[in-house]
């Protein structure tokens, strides 16, 4: 009896010390996701098709990072690799210093949430129910929402300013509103990392800007790291903290102003009709 009690006490103590160290480590280390010389691409019929090599990407807390590149350059492949859906051909992706391929699905869902481009299947889900599904990694076997879960959902709706839509069906709202709802769902999932695939496509200028500003606000206020792919380069230059730029030659990650002074944007599109004006930070078409 005594022995088991002592063991129990020590176990708790060990756990406590371990947890403290973990917290200490987390506050000093802002890096959430990193890659070590990965090469990405596809493996089929015994052959490797390499899309990009020697990628070193580092994503830190509280930063809004845009991924840009021409169509077909491999943005989706890179995102699929960073989210662990696809294995890199060589090298590893590390999430909180653990190889992402070693994560259990549930543990991964508590670290990383996604906003995808695919259309939602037809259903009767209300906005509230849709966002509440983001709590699934935390709910019990039947998915019952605790008061804490409901608070998180309400917080997510408040941050994205869609509280008034809560009881609407998800097919009754506009595309711009739906995009915010999907972002709120990712927020409700309460993960340090959110990855979005082209969240501003199909939106008009007004809603593009509002999604960009929302993402920036969320990254800075909640301390999450937000990575998203986009084709709105001028907005990305003005509104993000860092840009990952994919060209046929290299993949670079840096602050927008540094990338401009290095002339990286000029190599983005291999077309004589599109030139980059590095003083204005804008593309010219002639």
């Amino acid at each position: 009896m005594n022995i088991s009690k002592i063991y129990q006490k020590n176990k708790n103590l060990c756990f406590y010390v371990f947890k403290k160290f973990d917290l200490l480590y987390m506050t000093y280390n802002k890096e959430i996701l990193s890659t070590s010389n990965i090469s990405i691409g596809y493996h089929s019929k015994g052959k490797n098709t390499i899309i990009a090599e020697n990628l070193n990407i580092s994503l830190e807390k509280g930063k809004l990072v845009a991924l840009i590149g021409a169509n077909g350059i491999g943005k989706s492949t890179l995102l699929r690799t960073l989210t662990g859906i696809q294995k890199p051909l060589s090298g590893s992706v590390f999430l909180n210093n653990t190889n992402i391929q070693e994560y259990e699905p549930l543990a991964l869902a508590q670290q990383m949430s996604l906003v995808l481009t695919e259309k939602l299947p037809p259903s009767n889900l209300t906005v509230f129910e849709l966002i509440a599904l983001g709590r699934q990694p935390y709910t019990n076997w039947i998915g019952k929402l605790t008061p804490q879960d409901i608070t998180k959902v309400n917080e997510a709706m408040h941050l994205t300013q869609i509280s008034s839509l809560a009881t609407k069906k998800h097919y009754e709202i506009s595309d711009g509103q739906l995009q915010k709802v999907l972002i709120a769902r990712a927020l409700a999932q309460d993960t340090p990392l959110i990855i979005l695939d082209e969240p501003t496509t199909h939106l008009d200028l007004l809603h593009k800007v509002s999604v960009f500003k929302l993402l920036k606000k969320l990254a800075h206020e909640t301390g999450k790291c937000i990575l998203f792919s986009t084709h709105d380069i001028d907005m990305a230059i003005q509104l993000t903290d860092e840009i990952i730029i994919m060209t046929p030659q290299t993949v670079e990650q840096n602050q927008p102003c540094n990338l401009i002074s290095k002339g990286s944007f000029a190599t983005l599109f291999q077309d004589e009709h599109i030139t980059f004006d590095s003083e204005k930070g804008k593309f010219n078409f002639n």
Binding site: S113, P122, S123, N124, Q136, P137
Partner: protein
């Protein structure tokens, strides 16, 4: 919050309706027994007429229980399929499970002449038919699992289900050439569906199978809700997709296979009832849909059975005709009325 109040009222009404219909189903038939007497008999009191007691215990009660089990099981298997395949028209039929059962039974009943004497008598017993049916639906399940593993495409699985339907009817067509009129009659009666002739042993086997199927479905509620966002979102929410899909497919095949074995292929219940539940409760949340589909399934099957027994006469119509007459227009009406609701 207003919604949950409305739901609770609906659940209460449906439960009371189910209890009432259960008693009504027992009381109606070629010999009408007053509902009061039915109630007395069920709580163990003696009845004024001994024949009534006999009729209730040996005919009416087994039939009513079978109707409830069949209605619940088929409806839930339909609900599981519709969410898993993101297809409002999915059901045990579309997946080909019922076709597989039919094929098994057709081989035993129609192909019996091709087998040696002793095997024939063994297979043509009611147990032989049950076994053949379960085996048929299980083989289709294995085929579907194989295809789904290979293709990872939900539309392809549905097409495979349709192909099984065509395949079955073609084989049955061929078998009819080799069978006697008597065999053909037996198969035709089975395929029309019958929930009236089950022994208590059969009912207990059916109950256990349906219970297992429903229990597996209950544990699939959370994955089903995640699947409302599509496969990729569900995976990003930590869902073990292949495991959940396997459980859902198993639940469906146990429900559809055992029910088809005992009661014949019963059409439209699996397809129509989930839609009625979705329409009544205006939700896609499977926690609500599970219970409402259970209740609606039992209620509708009891109603269909009451109609098939043509109150006050000896005439018994095939249950399959009734479910199709009621079910088919409901599905068409649903499709026209609200495209978006389906799901």
């Amino acid at each position: 919050m207003q919604n949950s109040k409305r739901n609770n009222t609906l659940f209460l009404v449906l439960t009371l309706l189910l209890l009432f219909l259960f008693l009504l189903n027992i009381s109606l038939g070629s010999v009408a027994i007053p509902i009061k007497e039915v109630f007395k008999s069920l709580i163990g009191e003696n009845l004024s007429k001994e024949t009534w007691q006999y009729i209730i215990l040996n005919y009416r009660l087994p039939k009513a229980i079978t109707a409830v089990l069949v209605g619940m099981g088929l409806s839930i298997s339909g609900l599981l399929m519709q969410t898993l395949f993101r297809n409002p028209l999915a059901g045990p039929y579309v997946l080909g499970l019922s076709s597989g059962s039919s094929l098994g039974v057709a081989f035993v009943v129609l192909g019996a002449g091709l087998l040696p004497e002793f095997a024939t008598s063994l297979l043509l017993s009611s147990y032989g038919i049950v076994l053949a049916s379960c085996l048929g639906s299980f083989l289709v399940l294995l085929a579907v699992l194989f295809v789904s593993h290979r293709l990872r495409d939900t539309m392809a699985i549905l097409i495979v289900g349709l192909m099984f339907g065509s395949f079955t009817s073609a084989i049955v067509g061929v078998l009819t050439y080799f069978s006697t009129a008597e065999q053909l009659q037996k198969f035709t009666f089975w395929s029309l569906g019958n929930i009236g002739n089950l022994s208590w042993t059969s009912i207990s086997i059916l109950s256990i199978s349906v219970f297992v199927g429903l229990l597996l479905s209950l544990f699939s509620i959370k994955p089903l809700n995640a699947l409302l966002l599509g496969e990729n979102y569900a995976k990003s929410l930590g869902l073990n997709y292949s495991k959940s899909r396997l459980i859902i497919l198993f639940a469906t095949s146990i429900l559809a296979g055992s029910i088809t074995a005992f009661a014949g292929p019963i059409a439209f219940v699996g397809l129509a009832v989930p839609h009625i539940a979705k329409l009544a409760f205006q939700t896609s949340n499977h926690t609500v849909l599970f219970w409402s589909t259970l209740l609606f399934g039992a209620i509708i099957m009891l109603i269909c059975d009451i109609f098939s027994h043509f109150p006050g006469s000896d005439l018994i119509l095939p249950i399959n005709a009734i479910t199709s007459i009621i079910g088919a227009p409901i599905v068409i009406w649903l499709l026209i009325r609200k495209q978006k609701m389906m799901g």
